[in-house]
Amino acid sequence: MSEHEHMDAAVADAPHEAEEHGSGGMVFLFFLIGLAASLIVGWVIFPKLLYSQKNQPIDFNHVLHNGLVSDGCASCHFFREDGTFSGSPTLAQCIDCHSDVQGESEEEKRFVEEYVKKGIEVPWLIYARQPNCVFFSHAAHVKIAKMECVTCHGDMGETEHLRPYQYNRITGYSRDIWGHNIAGIKHHTWERMKMDDCAECHQQKKDMLGSVQTQKEGCFVCHK
């Protein structure tokens, strides 16, 4: 760089210095705009972009059904003889009552016509579905630890409609895993189901902490 050019630069800078104080507010305003916009992006738009949603193939009224069955949740969500948990019911179970249309609900009519009559299983979207690397034993939690369904599933049994199923566009996980709150804050046990949430209880089982690396429970207890 030549000396001449240096001088030019110094002259050109001078007026800016003079205006500095005047533009201070402006700079701060822009800071606020940037801050506000990005907060909106981060807290409001980002979650909307991150999650997509689908509706369940048909609606289902848990309250109504709960009133008709004798054994609560376990009437339809039961343990099989081999110790596995049946999860959402299959057509074979529904067919007992719904071989023909029972009530006046449009949804039921659609269910009977589109699934029961055609013998097609309903592709339920499972809110609480853990990823494939997770082994979760309902038997251990319900039969041995005597935990209630609500502890993890919330008041699902008291809903009259199925809410839309939201899933993460990047991971494909159900939104229930991270929880509805984008910051990951939860107020109830069932509001988030990440590994740390499992660990909250599991770390208290002093006699089961077998891991040599972590002094916690063995990895295989929950992973496959």
Partner: protein
């Protein structure tokens, strides 16, 4: 009271493989691959890259014809205990992807946790660990036979024998719904043990005097692989042949095995 406590007692699952009975037929290898969703490629002849949690090695006594003798040696993960669970692979894993569970004695491998540094493979003296150099690909339609109890692995992670831990989980679940806490010896058996047509593999709790492995491991012909490394493995072998027992721990030609 005793019953309530027993499920918490420390188990030490292990295997005793009778090499006198093993015919090297390869059933254990395929049983393992079918059970554990182990992938396959069009060319599997590069054995360093061929994922086989269970592999049958062919040992020879090195003598010329016709004094030549051969012994087949199935090698699952040896589930080393080392000292207090510091098995070679667990000690080096920077990702806590592999771990030793002192309640079962099983060395776990969590694929989603693994980031593929392969330190564990270098550390393992038994070549029991395999790296997924490629994405697993099942020909169209063949993914139908995949077992839902075992998660398929992805490119870039290490995998190995788990002693069919998912079968332990399944057995426990079965017991739980029946109101039991304990499982019987026959309720938890690995896929290879179950398949072996020669009955050469025995699996069970090495701590439990009622289990067959407890007695078998005390057989005077029993030995473990590379015992002098201090890996403290949980897979015992039985052979009535002196040269096989010597080969099991790289003894020098003039050295005598301790038994």
């Amino acid at each position: 009271m005793k019953n309530e406590h027993s499920h918490q007692t420390t188990k030490k699952f292990g295997m005793v493989i009778n090499l006198d009975l093993c015919t090297g037929c390869g059933s254990c290898m395929v049983a393992c691959m079918a059970e554990n969703n182990v992938p396959f490629k069009p060319d599997e002849t590069d054995k360093l890259k061929s994922i086989t949690w269970m592999r049958v090695y062919r040992l020879t006594n090195g003598k010329p014809f016709p004094e030549t003798d051969v012994c087949y040696l199935p090698r699952p993960c040896q589930h080393c205990e080392g000292h207090d669970g510091h098995s070679p692979c667990v000690s080096v894993c920077p990702a806590t992807a592999t771990d030793y569970d002192s309640l079962t004695g099983i060395v776990s491998q969590i694929y989603t946790r693994c980031f593929g540094c392969r330190y564990c493979m270098a550390a393992c003296p038994y070549h029991a660990r395999y790296f997924n150099w490629y994405d697993p690909v099942w020909p169209d339609g063949m993914e139908k036979y995949l077992n839902p109890n075992v998660s398929p692995r992805m490119r870039g992670v290490v995998e190995k024998c788990s002693f069919c831990y998912h079968r332990y989980q399944a057995a426990k679940d079965r017991a739980y719904v029946e109101g039991q806490r304990d499982i019987a010896e026959e309720d938890y058996q690995t896929a290879c043990t179950q398949a072996c047509p020669a009955g050469a593999i025995t699996f069970g709790d090495l701590n439990n005097p009622d289990h067959a492995v407890y007695k078998l491991k005390q057989d005077p012909r029993a030995f473990r692989l590379l015992e002098r490394l201090g890996t403290n493995t949980k897979v015992y072998y039985i052979s009535s042949k002196d040269w096989v027992r010597k080969a099991g721990d790289n003894y020098l030609p003039d050295e005598r095995p301790k038994k």
